[in-house]
């Protein structure tokens, strides 16, 4: 089992963070275009699943799975979207996504980070997220 890569988007669809671990094949697209595709797909999945929903309940898309990977989603109520590609058999992904969200909030959202200016301390965020991901049992 393994974890391949992660995208974090803000509510406007801008990719705030990208990282990868065991990604052996690249998409061959410029990164910006790849982020747009990934984000667009998530939006489409959301609207698609809402249209086809069989009742009115408030639902969220959690993941989709192919034979080679599983793409896990987390969208906070504030519109922050986290997408994580993992092995199809990986378990405990919702917990991991929640932990990544917490790490993101603690670094990007904290007043300490914002006192230094508008920019995000990318290195700090990266070390935090890498720490959370590499400690997860699904990361081997």
């Amino acid at each position: 089992m393994t974890i391949f890569n992660i995208y974090i988007f803000d509510r406007e669809g801008q990719c705030l963070y990208y990282d990868e671990w065991f990604r052996t094949k690249q998409s061959g697209l410029p990164p910006i275009q790849e982020y747009q595709l990934v984000f667009g797909m998530m939006l489409s999945m959301k609207s698609f699943s809402e249209r086809l929903s069989t009742n009115d309940s408030n639902q969220t898309v959690n993941s989709f799975r192919t034979s080679a990977y599983k793409m896990n989603f987390l969208e906070s109520a504030t519109g922050v979207k986290i997408l994580l590609n993992s092995d199809p058999a990986a378990t405990g992904m919702p917990d991991l996504l929640q932990k990544i969200y917490q790490a993101w909030v603690e670094t990007v959202n904290s007043p300490v980070a914002n006192l230094l200016g508008e920019g995000i301390d990318h290195g700090f965020l990266q070390s935090k997220i890498r720490d959370v991901v590499t400690k997860h049992p699904a990361y081997v």
């Binding site: 406007e12 667009g40 408030n58 906070s76 109520a77 929640q98 909030v105």
Partner: protein, 181 residues
């Protein structure tokens, strides 16, 4: 104020309520000196609260993953009273006074920590100063971050603080250019 938010984020240390209360008091005094108009001060407090609220929303959601998505005002009021206000102000609150088909309600904050050790001169209150408007602003900011547009005003009422909240609309996520739902 940012100190207070930082404490909440860190969770490891607690800030003395007295220190917080007095710092806030001197902040308001300073604002009154700078702006000279109590109404303008209320607006500034609201703005500061709003900016805090937009950040607190993410912080709150990260800490409380079990809170469900709200679909109506009753649920919003319940989460505010039962989770958010105890978490950030360390005191209890209740919702009441529902009017307009559940679109308008009052949250009564008991023992508002901002008001302890503070006596606001009645003439300033009469001139339009709303001492705890920062809380109302924070609620407005936090709800706006989760796509609910509301209007919030704070009123002092003896030992309690009343926050009047009026629901306006549900905001839509703006889609990137070229996308339509």
């Amino acid at each position: 104020m940012s100190k207070n938010a930082k404490q909440n984020l860190a969770d490891s240390k607690k800030m003395s309520a007295e220190l917080f209360c007095l710092t806030y008091g001197s902040l308001v005094t300073e604002l009154l000196r700078d702006y000279e108009d109590p109404k303008e001060v209320t607006m500034q407090l609201d703005k500061m609260g709003f900016n805090m609220g937009t950040r607190l929303a993410d912080d709150f959601l990260a800490k409380n993953s079990n809170v469900p998505r709200c679909t109506d005002c009753r649920q919003i009021a319940e989460v505010l009273c039962k989770n958010a206000i105890p978490c950030y102000l360390g005191t209890t609150a209740n919702s009441s006074n529902w009017v307009g088909g559940d679109r308008e309600f009052t949250i009564v904050i008991e023992n508002n920590p901002l008001n302890e050790l503070v006596q606001v001169p009645p003439n300033l209150l009469a001139a339009g100063l709303s001492y705890s408007q920062v809380i109302a602003g924070a609620i407005r900011g936090a709800l706006e971050a989760v796509h609910f547009k509301v209007y919030a005003t704070a009123m002092e009422n003896g030992a309690n603080t009343e926050i009047r909240i009026r629901f306006d609309s549900v905001l839509k996520d703006n889609l990137p250019a070229g996308e339509d739902d």
